[in-house]
Amino acid sequence: MDSCKKDTPAAAPCGRYRARGPRLGATLAAAIALAAASARAESGDFTEMALEDLMDVEITALSRYPEDVQDAPAAVSVLSRSDIRRAGATTIPDALRLVPGVQVAQVGAGSWAVSARGFNAATANKLLVMIDGRSIYSPFFSGTVWDRHDLVLDNVERIEVVRGPGGAVWGANAVNGVINIITRDSAATDGSYARLTSGTGENAIAELRHGGAIGRGTARVSAKARRRRGGDAVDGRPLDDTWTMGSLSFRADTPLAGGELTLSGGARRSETDTRVDLFDPATAGVRTETGSNDTTAGHLNGRWRYRLPSGGRVQLRGIYDHTALASAFGDIDRNRLDLRGQHRVATRGRHSLIWGLRFRTIHESVGETPSQRMRDDTRITTRLSGFVQDTISLTDRLDLILGSKLSRNTYTGLDVQPNARVSWRVAPDHTLWGSVSRAVRTPSRVEVDGILRFATNATVPGPTGAPLPVVPVIRGTDDVDASSLIAYEAGYRGRPLPGTRLAVSAFHNDHDDVIGARRIDTQVAASPARARFVSVFTNNLSATSTGVEVEANWQATERLRLTSSYSFIDLDVDGRGPTGGLQAGAIEGRTPDHQGTLRSHWRVLDDLRLDTTLRATDELPAAGVSADVQLDARLAWEVAPGTQLELTGRNLLDAETTEFRTVQFPDFGGATVERSVFASIEARF
């Protein structure tokens, strides 16, 4: 707890020691007494609480409070810095497990399959992920490679997860949701910080940070290095799966030209070991190669905000990033430039308008290997888009939000993504909302340009009767169109009972023109002799999904809070063509029908906290993964002001579990997840 740092005035009571009221102990019997303690939590006691604890208090009757953070008419979950810490998460995907409707499956020491509302795969491509507005998905296969974006988690202010299409404001590809990781202002991270973690699994993590004033503003520099060992291969073969990474980053916030400039950037290197089955050109069969995916990346992100005399606000952003990946499948070298501006017009009458423009260009070179090549090694793609959104106050309780995005991209031309939302404050503590939106996912480069060759051990009898190795080949074509989605959503957010909070959202999605593969030809080729099963990427799949997501919390006593989440999804995929049905089954069977978490946060003593998370996931029949229940627990003890010791256990219920199996290209392995126990020491000084 920071409230008892050296900068607290000496004469004032340090928040931990209170002059009145019982401070209840750690014994189990005290659990009953906790209830008694809460009985005398009358108004006076809050004046003795430390600031950090006050920020944790859930307040009743807050709806009448003049609101600035508008209740979004959407299925939004926010993970605060404290939520992330208390879950014992050491990576962003681990923290995302707490959000209903988001599927997270670890497939390797540094690899995860993360998706929202179905369609999970290691190359899950319907979720837009951003850090401070910088998109971190790889346009090569339109998915997020998580290992290369590992941040100092103490630098994260919050993670906002919007399930459902955020199409109107953010980029295309936000078909099933948007995750925005927001980092803290550098003024909030001044001073020095160090955190060391070590244990089984998490072999070592070292995080360092220093911040302070610079000119008229503030800045910080952070460094992180980690090494993590994964489990064995899901098929039982031994696997030496290790993830190592190192990064250096900075952030500066300063007034500039009458506005505020935030500049951030960083450089990092990440290596994950892989063992992949590649196409062997000599035998047309399988060659197993152990190697690694090595990423070197750097970025610069500048944002300038300015308040207009009329009351409106302007924001300009420029982002440049460079990524170089060396892997067994091939090398990718990519440079990306993203420029955007938006203008929030001062409210006029009932209307609050916001509009923006964005220009993005990507220069990407892909090196050829026997497993893949692009029709052109190097390609430059550009996208120009604009959006407009109007929030109309129909009455003082009813808001209507209309918006649309228009974008033009290299692959598929013009896309329109309109949406309409309604937010209705039915009663002071209850809000209902509904929305209809259209979102679009543009094809990835692989789906348009790529020629992929897979390795199998299968054979078919050839023309002479001798068995020929089967080589599946998939080609991208210019005919591939964007896939689209119409989403119907509705939800409730409010406080049904004192001390509780509930958010429920329901959705029905109609996915059209989902990209799959269709077999067009079977050829016999020579040197080496083989049977080529040629398919093309095509929009031969469609899907509907219906589901519900629930989040609830209950401040049971002053020191104990319970949080739970649950999601259900019924995903129905249809495929046209000879293999369409198989592909559809593979997608459906990798989405769990049910998921849930139950968390408890217990402030045992003023300086001792115990947090536990119980996680349950339904089976993934197409991946051969059975239903699973897992338990994480974390004990944190503030030994001295600014210094904290933690003991965390993850996946405590099983020595080893399989969370996913990938059969897609590229195959990021597929390793089990092991039970891990680790200790951390953290100091702020």
Binding site: P9, A19, L54, M55, P255
Partner: protein
């Protein structure tokens, strides 16, 4: 029912032992379980925030009114029952004094800190009075902070957060310790102030 708190003790074990005794005394009352949620009223928590802000802000030295920090609450900002809990508390050797004001610029000369009711930016006359007299302006909403108020409280879900307009605060001759900025949701360096 209250238990006297044990004196601050570093050893976890001794502290736990002291509290167990206390817990045994308080043990039977289960019915109180629901009461805490009820009692977390907005005004009580806001009063807690305001008191904490006084611990992190330092005012320019003043010859008159030494030994006192004067908190003024505009009618409608926080209920008197909530803020009167602060009367008589000490902050860095000075004693807290609370009173109700109408919120006009003219009254600010007699205040070290003023809490406003509305969410609109502070009037220019109020900002000038704050700059002249070194008054910490606390209000609600982003508009308050961006419009020259010093600290604005706002809602995020069911919890309160706050933002600091550092430039406006420094223009009034005040300084704020880094510990407060660390917890602020946003630190504003520009805008009116």
């Amino acid at each position: 029912m209250r238990c006297r708190a044990p004196p601050p003790v570093r050893s976890l074990r001794r502290r736990a032992a002291g509290r167990t005794r206390c817990a045994a005394v308080a043990g039977a009352v289960l019915a109180g379980a629901g009461a805490s949620a009820e009692a977390a009223s907005l005004d009580a928590v806001k009063a807690g925030f305001v008191f904490n802000f006084t611990k992190f802000v330092s005012w320019p030295a003043r010859e008159d009114e030494a030994g006192q920090v004067r908190l003024c609450f505009e009618r409608g900002s926080i209920s008197p029952e909530a803020y009167r809990e602060l009367d008589g508390k000490t902050v860095r050797g000075t004693t807290v004094h609370t009173r109700t004001v109408k919120g006009a610029a003219g009254e600010l000369g007699a205040c070290d800190l003023a809490v406003f009711a509305a969410g609109t930016p502070p009037a220019a006359s109020v900002r000038r009075a704050a700059d002249r007299n070194g008054v910490l302006l606390i209000g609600n909403g982003l508009g308050f902070a961006r419009g020259g108020g010093h600290i604005a409280l706002m809602r995020r879900g069911d919890k309160l957060r706050f933002r600091v307009n550092l430039r406006a605060l420094r223009r009034a001759g005040l300084e704020v310790r880094s510990g407060l900025l660390r917890l602020a949701e946003e630190v504003i360096r520009t805008g009116d102030g």
